[in-house]
Symmetry: none
Subunit: 263 residues, 2 copies
């Protein structure tokens, strides 16, 4: 089916970024780029692609959607890729043992649009072919997106999953949406701010021997990181928590109260 | 003389049939079969496939969705394929000079479901790769389905178009989830648990002179309590925070680690 009208130019629009986490096949990266551009998405981020970048197979498959690959960002790790995003949603097929909101593609992209229209940055994550994302990856996400596939046959390929989310992005333009989070003061914290809050807390707790017993330490850390990623914190909340953790950790009355509460 | 009419393809599950009109590549037929079965559709009709039938390439690509190809019907012409259908909708990308209703994929599949639930048979048509359907083909359709692709890049492949319609079929059932919170373990914290968490923290902070200057203390407390009330904490999150606050506040390595982390 070809419906390309080359006379039409798309007005610049703020869009969610599609983050492919450790993608394996260049062909799938190219096919994902096409799927994105089919519905007007163009910001792709590759986290540690298996075969490096650029990848000729990706370009061969992306014909017509080269503009997506031309402006791709490549990042070493997922934390860096989503640091500036206030809304991070991870597309996942398997059930996970995580306390996170699970959205349908439609609900996810409606939320993405609301967030973007209020000035936020949004990342939608897709895991590597076959294996999917690790729980360490999902710890960077505030919520999950579950595609309601046939329980007897759930094998969507990467580009198909991207296509469905991109399609729902396009549809979400039509939904007049009334619901909106009111941020009395402050703005939604970015994922980077949340990660930093977690890291700084983990450091303090580490020094206190909190992550114990040793064999459970990794799981405890991950669950702590997950908790902060999931909570809808504002930038002010993040500063408040920094202040609380610092105050409690000090364990003595402030010497210079003003500078402490400003942390 | 047999009374079986093989042109009547009424499924026990009562599903729409996907009709591929003069499909060219076996690979695309296989990929379309997978896309159908991803969302629970299984009745495929091939009208005059270019390379005949069966087609080994189709089977190679359909892995996991072989049941769709196993029960495929092959017809000489489109008229025969849709003869028993009461609702026939043709998926098309190009604008047509036809006086026909044009539906979005969602509207189309909602209509398909309503028709099927009232006992009708439904066919969704897809044209050959690249060329699409002729107006003579569309003459068999009661309405058109238009996928809202990017006007600047409308080249969906056959399997992708089938995937989107199959996806909308699945959604039209609409027990499909919008949002669902997965509480891996634990349940949403009660307001009482949140209030207690705030109070216990405020007590610790009070002892440290955190709420300062005095004239701002009341507002600071209120905003802290508001924050905990607003956050979607699980009962486990609440226990985690209790543990963190206690550990930080102590400021020294645990004497009895087990009892501390159990708090």
């Amino acid at each position: 089916m070809s419906g390309t009208d080359h006379s039409v130019n798309i007005a610049p629009e703020r869009l969610p970024q599609i983050v492919l986490v450790r993608p394996q096949m260049g062909e799938n990266i190219g096919a994902a780029a096409r799927a994105m551009w089919n519905f007007g998405l163009e910001h792709m981020v590759l986290v540690n692609p298996r075969d490096g970048w650029p990848n000729p197979q990706a370009n061969a498959l992306a014909s017509g959607a080269a503009r997506v690959l031309d402006q791709v960002f490549v990042k070493e790790n997922l934390g860096e890729a989503v640091a500036s995003s206030q809304l991070v949603l991870a597309t996942t097929a398997r059930k996970r043992d995580l306390t996170k909101a699970i959205y349908s593609p439609k609900e996810a992209m409606t939320r993405a649009r609301v967030a973007i229209e209020s000035g936020q940055t949004v990342s939608i994550l897709f895991g590597p072919e076959r294996a999917g994302m690790e729980n360490e990856d999902l710890a960077h996400a505030g919520g999950l997106v579950s595609i309601p596939v046939n329980p007897a046959f759930g094998s969507l390929n990467l580009a198909q999953a991207v296509l469905l989310l991109a399609y729902e992005w396009r549809l979400s333009a039509d939904d007049a949406l009334g619901e909106e989070m009111e941020w009395a003061s402050g703005v939604p914290a970015s994922q980077g701010e949340k990660t930093h809050l977690y890291q700084s807390l983990a450091e303090r707790l580490d020094a206190l021997g909190f992550f114990w017993p040793e064999k459970k330490a990794a799981a405890m850390r991950l669950s702590l990181q997950n908790m902060f990623s999931r909570l809808p914190l504002s930038d002010i909340d993040v500063r408040t928590f920094h202040g609380i953790f610092k105050a409690l950790n000090k364990g003595t009355p402030f010497q210079n109260k003003k500078s402490e509460t400003d942390e």
